[in-house]
């Protein structure tokens, strides 16, 4: 074939624009890395990597949606913009309406717990609960101070996590922008990166990348769908408890969100989702004789969450979550212990992060084995 045929069609201006933006982004990251190395500013590098990793995870979650929009004939850029329009709309709505309400709710419960005036009611409530427990388990006593301090600590940490999220709104927007670039031009970026791999390992790298991406997408999508399912069910369940039994559980949206997110942690998650609901019910019903006679609706809440778990374990999770999350209970406990060193967020992220790593390791191992490299 003659060389005169090797002239390619000029890329479209939009693609050219994003290409140059991508190049700028790459140069910027490289510059940041160089500067960080020069000034020994290791935390900066970690922060930049953290943003990219989070954006990559979000890309894996949103990619199927953009693919679907593209398959319906919409250009990838417009599909991405459409999806982000929706996300920004929801985030804006959440920031304007939801988060202040949630923060108020968290603050209110924290105040109730910390208020000295409530101590008497607390004492009477604990006395009541202890006497009820003593009917079934003689000699068993709940420690009021311990419960109070644990509850205060829990809500205080939760408050700081939410407040921190608001403070880092700029970071979130930055992550979303990187995600947008990854979604529009991610395939080209991956192609260019894989293109650097030597011929000998090229096929294998391509396969491993594809399979890992597939597994990760399935895993993350499954986790999020299951979390959403548990969140919605908890919201409906708690609302029903409020409506039927007048349980006076406030912050249903917040508790449901916690329950949904906590569900990503096997074994411990469902319990973590249940605890805030019980604490809120206890503190909202202080000094209420009807609530006291119903054992502060603790059994109702436990029952409701058990039903949610039954629906999740038997109907939702088998459909949406891939089997890659199967872990030994001991592994989960150890991961949560390690994660707790970073804080509440670490506890939430430790198990999913391990799940992701497990998928990547499995795929890389199988790829290397298939190509007789190990």
């Amino acid at each position: 074939m003659s060389n005169t045929d090797s002239i390619t069609i000029a890329p479209q201006s939009v693609r050219l624009f994003f290409q140059s933006l991508f190049k700028t982004l790459v140069y910027f990251i490289l510059l940041v890395l160089l500067l960080a190395g020069a000034y020994k500013a290791f935390p900066l590098v970690v922060d930049a990597l953290f943003l990219i990793v989070i954006a990559a995870i979000l890309t894996a979650v949103f990619n199927p949606v953009v693919d679907r929009l593209e398959s319906s004939g919409l250009r990838r850029l417009y599909g991405t913009l459409l999806m982000f329009g929706g996300i920004f709309g929801m985030v804006a709505l959440g920031v304007i309406k939801g988060i202040p309400t949630l923060l108020n709710e968290v603050g209110r419960i924290k105040d109730i717990i910390q208020e000295n005036s409530a101590t008497e009611s607390l004492n009477s409530m604990m006395g009541d609960i202890n006497s009820r427990i003593a009917e079934y388990i003689p000699g068993f006593q709940l420690d009021l101070d311990l419960i109070s301090s644990l509850s205060a600590q829990f809500f205080s940490q939760l408050g700081s996590v939410l407040a921190g999220a608001l403070d880092t709104l700029a970071t979130i927007i930055f992550i979303l922008i990187i995600t947008m670039f990854f979604l529009v031009d991610g395939k080209r970026m991956t192609k260019q990166l894989i293109g650097m791999v030597p011929n000998r390992y090229f096929e294998m790298s391509l396969n491993i990348t594809y399979k890992t991406k597939q597994q990760l997408t399935n895993f993350l999508r499954g986790q999020l769908l299951a979390a959403l399912g548990v969140g919605i069910q908890s919201f409906i369940g708690l609302s029903l408890l409020n409506w039927i039994f007048d349980t006076n559980i406030s912050g249903v949206l917040l508790i449901s969100t916690i329950a949904g997110m906590a569900n990503m942690i096997p074994f411990v998650g469902p319990f973590m989702g249940m605890v805030p609901a019980i604490i809120v019910s206890l503190f909202n019903n202080l000094g209420d004789p009807i609530a006291a006679s119903h054992f502060y609706y603790i059994l109702h809440i436990i029952g409701m969450f058990l039903i949610v778990q039954m629906i999740d374990n038997n109907i939702i999770s088998p459909i949406v979550v891939s089997g890659s999350m199967e872990m030994h209970p001991l592994t989960v406990i150890l991961l949560i212990l390690v994660g707790s060193q970073i804080g509440v967020l670490g506890m939430f992220l430790a198990v999913p992060a391990w799940g992701i790593s497990k998928v990547v390791i499995q795929e890389v191992y199988q790829g290397l084995k298939g190509h007789h490299l190990i």
């Binding site: 074939m1 045929d5 090797s6 390619t8 011929n199 000998r200 096929e203 396969n207």
Partner: protein, 184 residues
């Protein structure tokens, strides 16, 4: 007879050149492969964006025998040999492929191990079209993916028919051989 004047119009020729669609080497190579031959130039351009163009030095393996198959290759420029590895013997060369030739298209559908090795004989530029690329096209451009799959199915059907024909011939020969053996 009056001789036709060979007059050139530089401005007109320049416009004509500009209006003529420009095709890259990869597009030209892809359009010659039976799997893509029925695609429009616009569709071939989408395939071109999905494929990987690789350069191989002489003696460098494209893939080895026994590797899991993951895609097909189209030679843009150069020469590739298909070799059968025989234990304790030098590899046997089955064929030699050149510009525009393609190989390994069945690996787009099946991950079973490669039955032979492919090695570049001279400096070669090769297009690699792999299963992940096909899956991506199927996801984002289902109509185009469908066309490629249909063409692949046709390739398979032709080969199956040819194999059946060969099988019939061999079985007839075998029958004849067995009959002659029985008569003797």
């Amino acid at each position: 007879m009056k001789e036709k004047a060979n007059i050139s119009y530089p401005l007109f020729d320049s416009f004509k050149d500009k209006l003529k669609p420009k095709r890259s080497q990869a597009q030209m190579a892809l359009s010659q492969v039976n799997v893509f031959s029925r695609l429009s130039w616009q569709e071939i351009k989408i395939v071109e964006n999905a494929v990987h163009i690789r350069n191989y030095a002489p003696g460098e393996p494209v893939f080895k025998q026994g590797d899991p198959g993951s895609g097909m290759y189209v030679i843009i420029e150069g020469c590739v040999g298909i070799f059968l590895d025989i234990p304790q013997q030098t590899p046997k060369q089955l064929s030699k492929l050149g510009d525009g030739d393609f190989f390994g298209e069945i690996a787009l559908l099946d991950e079973s191990p490669r039955t032979a090795a492919a090695t570049a004989i001279e400096n070669s530029t090769i297009i690699g079209f792999y299963r992940p690329d096909l899956m991506d096209i199927l996801k984002t451009k289902p109509a185009l993916g469908g066309k490629i799959l249909l063409a692949l199915s046709e390739v398979l059907a032709v080969r199956l028919r040819s194999t059946n024909g060969e099988l019939v011939k061999v079985s007839r020969k075998l029958e004849a051989f067995l009959e002659s053996g029985a008569n003797e």
